[in-house]
Amino acid sequence: MAISLNSSDPSAAGVPDTVTVPAGSASAAFTVTTYPVASSTFATITAVYSGVARTAMLTITPPVVKSLSVNPTSVLGRIISQGTVTLSGPAPAGGAAVALSSSDPSAAGVPATVTVPAGSTSAAFTVTTYAVAGSTPVTISATYGSILTAALTVNPADGDFYGDGVKVEDALKALRIAAALDTPTAIDFAHGDVAPLVNSRSHPDGKIDINDVIAILRKAVGLPGW
């Protein structure tokens, strides 16, 4: 026998028109297909057979932030870290605007929101970091139905242009940049803008000059630095 089915909100919860209870059986299962919603939505599912109706209530909940990550989790100031937010389910029509925030915008900035496109479950965003005097822990937060956080550490310039430890070659690289023989890249600045030093702490000033050369040179030969 065929039982008629109906949903009070097919955009949130869809059901087949009928479900057939096999001969000799007393029940049959059917699938309720739900769709992403922006807010909690109630749907009434009604089954009608031989003039008798029975109902069941279904609550469709919107997705929430399921995970938040940044990669890398430890960066030099001025190096970008990539953030990813993932929802517990597909974003509703129009997308899901996930609110973002940083505990220390002077060290790491994030856009105010990142939108997970409709039907998708994740979106990426850029964490822009800035020069810092010392290692700076930052908490990135994402809010959409729930709040999740991710930890990021922004580090001061290390003087290591070539990624193999600070050596005299790094000081010479800084010297070439200071003399305008080399044009520094953003990554060069992230590594080489150390000075001025104040009580052995880096206070980068947006340029690589003779003071940066001196600081890197000292580190290269094992003298006290930053």
Partner: protein
């Protein structure tokens, strides 16, 4: 010898009579006698302390520019135009320092320049720190006073002793406490 106090990093084009004894001038003199063509000029750069430098402060870096007279060049075969090996050397207590020099050849309107950066992690004393070897083109007779010191900056480190090797260091600008001196010998 000419000397500049560079607290304001002034361009100096001083006519320094004392330099005359070192050579300079050429071509026909006032009585029409032709002097021999000179082909080389060697600049010796030195600093002296003219202001109060805090104790526990080392001199660690210089950044200066020399403006060359017309017809005077330095050897530079690289691009960008770093001076060739041996053209600019670190000397005196700065010998062995990291040094680089950049040559900007003269144009029709701008004189040639040599910018020198010298850095040393340990530091060095005031005094002679560099020599610059220049070439003089035929037909040019520069005077020693034609070599100008255009810019000068001196960097140092103030050491706060916490017990080696844990010194705290702070960059300090020593430009106002040092005078730059340039001695030119033309031959």
């Amino acid at each position: 010898m000419k000397k500049i106090s560079l607290s304001g990093m002034l361009i100096l084009g001083l006519a320094l009579s004392t330099l005359a004894a070192c050579g300079g001038g050429g071509g026909a003199d006032s009585v029409g006698i032709t002097n021999p063509q000179q082909t080389k000029a060697v600049l010796t750069l030195s600093t002296s302390v003219t202001g109060a430098i805090p104790s526990d402060t080392t001199i660690n870096g210089y950044d200066l520019t020399i403006t060359l007279p017309a017809g005077v060049t330095v050897k530079s075969t690289t691009t960008p135009p770093q001076t060739d090996t041996g053209v600019v050397t670190s000397t005196g207590s700065a010998a062995g320092s990291s040094i680089t020099a950049v040559y900007s050849p003269a144009t029709a309107t701008i004189p040639g320049k040599v910018r020198i950066l010298l850095a040393n992690g340990n530091g060095y004393y005031a005094g002679e720190f560099s020599k610059v070897n220049c070439d003089i083109a035929a037909g040019h007779y520069p005077k020693t006073s034609d070599f100008q010191l255009s810019t000068f900056a001196a960097s140092g480190l103030l050491h706060t002793h916490l017990g080696y090797p844990d010194d705290n260091i702070t960059n300090v600008d020593l430009t106002g406490q040092l005078s730059l001196t340039e001695t030119v010998v033309i031959n």
